[in-house]
């Protein structure tokens, strides 16, 4: 496994770039790029979590953005109620995501295929409407988080560089965790279920239970991204759970390469930078982005990682 490949080189280059970015930002005085990349990293974390169930588990969830909202609202609501400690906010965000994932997963996993895509979508939309109905917490207009999560001196989230490295650290930790999961016995069973559910069941694995656990783990990871996102924007609104957000996450995963470890990160970087670039170019950036997605689906099989893999083979 020591062989050199183009995809490994590009991945290493990208990771090195992400680690060194605050240095560049400091030297050039470009603060915007740090803010932009903090957002990129948080959404890359969400995309990586979606990849765990979509790429490795074969569960096409179209409602993953719900966790972004749940994690974010956990932080925002607790902050509103005067609980500012991150040691409480983050565990609550994870627990809330786990409970949501458990209920939604148990119901959704009864179905498969298109039904599953649409059920997860519908439940996320339900979460969106519930958040819009929370009059005490801003309803439709959203909720301003006046104070970022307080980790009592351990790390200061209001410091841009520290917050950036916290997000990056979370992203790396999640990727390592996914790598461990995928190569564990549990992960192999889940991947086996993606390939052939009936056969796995015949061997004697309780299919739904494995998938549900995987679904919940993925949801908790995305809930973490949500808690970070609320801290990043100092604001949480139902808009982060809107179904187009879930679509964005799916696009990132596919664009980068489904079922690869670093693909979603690359997808998030490329997608969000492309969005940024196009929106500076023209106000009507989606006019280009939309057909671009169509072309990527039609011709770009395997995403960026697949492309890099083909480059290597020549």
């Amino acid at each position: 496994m020591k062989t050199f490949t183009v995809s490994k080189a590009v991945t290493a280059l990208m990771l090195a770039g992400l680690v060194l970015l605050p240095l560049y930002s400091q030297l050039s005085g470009n603060i915007f790029i740090l803010t932009l990349f903090t957002r990129v990293i948080i959404l890359a974390l969400a995309a990586a979590s979606l990849n765990l169930i979509m790429g490795f588990g074969g569960m096409m969830s179209f409602g993953h953005a719900a966790y972004l909202g749940i994690g974010g609202y956990a932080v925002g609501m607790l902050a509103q109620e005067g609980v500012g400690s991150g040691f409480i906010q983050f565990p609550v965000a994870l627990a809330a995501s786990a409970i949501y994932g458990l209920v939604i997963g148990a119901l959704s996993l009864r179905t498969r295929g298109v039904y599953f895509i649409m059920i997860t979508l519908a439940f996320a939309q339900m979460a969106y409407y519930v958040a819009s109905g929370l009059a005490r917490y801003g309803g439709d207009d959203g909720l301003t988080v006046y104070k970022r999560s307080d980790f009592s001196g351990l790390i200061n989230l209001s410091n841009r560089t520290q917050f950036y490295y916290l997000c990056l650290g979370c992203l790396f930790a999640v990727i390592v965790l996914i790598w461990r999961i995928v190569n564990s016995r549990f992960g192999l069973v889940v991947q086996g279920l993606r390939s052939n559910e009936q056969r796995m069941q015949a061997i004697g694995f309780p299919a739904k239970r494995y998938q549900l656990v995987c679904f919940v783990i993925s949801g908790m990871m995305c809930g973490l991204a949500g808690a970070l996102l609320a801290n990043n924007t100092d604001f949480i609104s139902p808009a982060v759970m809107y179904w187009t957000r879930s679509g964005d996450l799916m696009v990132m995963v596919i664009l980068g390469g489904m079922g690869t470890l670093f693909g979603p990160v690359m997808g998030a970087v490329v997608y969000l930078l492309l969005e940024e670039f196009l929106s500076q170019l023209t106000e009507y950036w989606a006019l280009i982005m939309g057909p671009l997605l169509l072309l990527i689906v039609l011709f770009g099989r395997g995403g960026i990682m697949g492309l890099l893999g083909r480059l290597n083979r020549g």
Binding site: R110, Y129, V130, A135, G290, L298
Partner: protein
């Protein structure tokens, strides 16, 4: 009593509108096995076309007819240029590609018609209240929607159940390879079905246009409802879509109208007014969850194996 009848009719009208949308969706699902998120965009285009053509011609009916034709053509063009290449691909590819189409349509509408919404004014003869029961009046336009949608539903039923094309459509829904092997021009059939679905979505959009404002993204919320209906009814089943659509329309409308009062009887008035809006918008999703627990394939799954 007045309120009950009125809300009942509102629910029926909303349900029928949802049926027009869901029928196209479920046909395209059932026959081409294509997940078309852009169905909501066709609904939106129907409304925009109607508003534009009605302003040009000065006649609501003429505008509506032209808009119907325009969405039909748009659907056929869309199928032939883009969606045709997606058949047989993974569902995920469909979701992504049509998600891209939504972005495109929303932006194109913003470019052409501007970010502000349009209004589609009704002709005077459709704005008068009509007495339906002694002492109870109902807006003529909403009544017209009910009548038109019921007629379309009946035509659709007869078309699918009693004609040769309908027979081919049903055959396509239950076994695609077989009907191709029997020498049916499956490409043409697909294009036709997609165009039909587009026209139905356009019809729903243009009929809804005078009630709501015509705006960007109007198709997206209602698309999710249409998905819920398709899931409840069972993919590919027109009958399932009809029953599910009416139920969802009724539950949603009646829930929003009467749930706050019902809750007020149980809870304190403050708690009720907080819980009611959230609960009433959750109601149909709860129904869907229950249906899925009992029948994971929907109420009337079309292709049983």
């Amino acid at each position: 009593m007045l309120l009950v009848v009125e809300q009942f009719l509102n629910g029926l009208q909303f349900g029928l509108l949802l049926f027009l949308l869901a029928a196209g969706l479920t046909l395209v699902f059932g026959i081409m096995d294509l997940v078309n998120l852009a169905h909501g965009s066709l609904y939106m285009m129907g409304a925009y076309f109607a508003a534009t053509f009605a302003a040009w011609t000065g006649s609501f009916l003429l505008g509506a007819l032209l808009a119907l034709g325009a969405t039909l053509v748009l659907g056929i063009v869309l199928e032939m240029s883009a969606l045709r290449h997606l058949y047989g691909r993974d569902h995920l590819d469909h979701v992504l590609a049509t998600f891209g189409l939504i972005l495109f349509f929303n932006e194109a509408v913003r470019l052409i018609w501007g970010p502000a919404g349009l209004a589609l004014p009704l002709p005077v003869w459709l704005t008068v209240p009509v007495p339906i029961l002694p002492g109870i009046h109902y807006p003529a336009y909403r009544l017209a929607i009910i009548v038109v949608a019921l007629m379309v539903a009946l035509l659709l039923y007869l078309g699918v159940m009693r004609t040769r094309i309908g027979m081919l459509i049903r055959a396509g829904a239950s076994n695609r390879e077989m009907i191709g092997a029997l020498g049916i021009n499956i490409k043409l059939l697909y294009t036709l079905v997609f165009g039909l679905g587009a026209a139905l979505a356009g019809l729903a959009g243009l009929m809804q246009a005078p009630i709501l404002t015509v705006q960007i993204g109007m198709g997206e919320n209602i698309l999710i409802l249409a998905f819920v209906i398709v899931v409840i009814g069972g993919i590919g089943s027109i009958r399932g879509a009809f029953i599910a659509a009416i139920s969802v329309g009724m539950i949603d409308t009646l829930g929003r109208a009467f749930l706050p009062n019902l809750l007020r009887q149980v809870l304190s008035s403050a708690a009720a007014s907080t819980a009611a809006p959230a609960l009433s918008s959750m109601l149909i999703y709860l129904v869907m969850a229950i249906v899925l627990v009992v029948r994971p394939e929907g109420l009337f799954p079309a292709n049983r194996r």
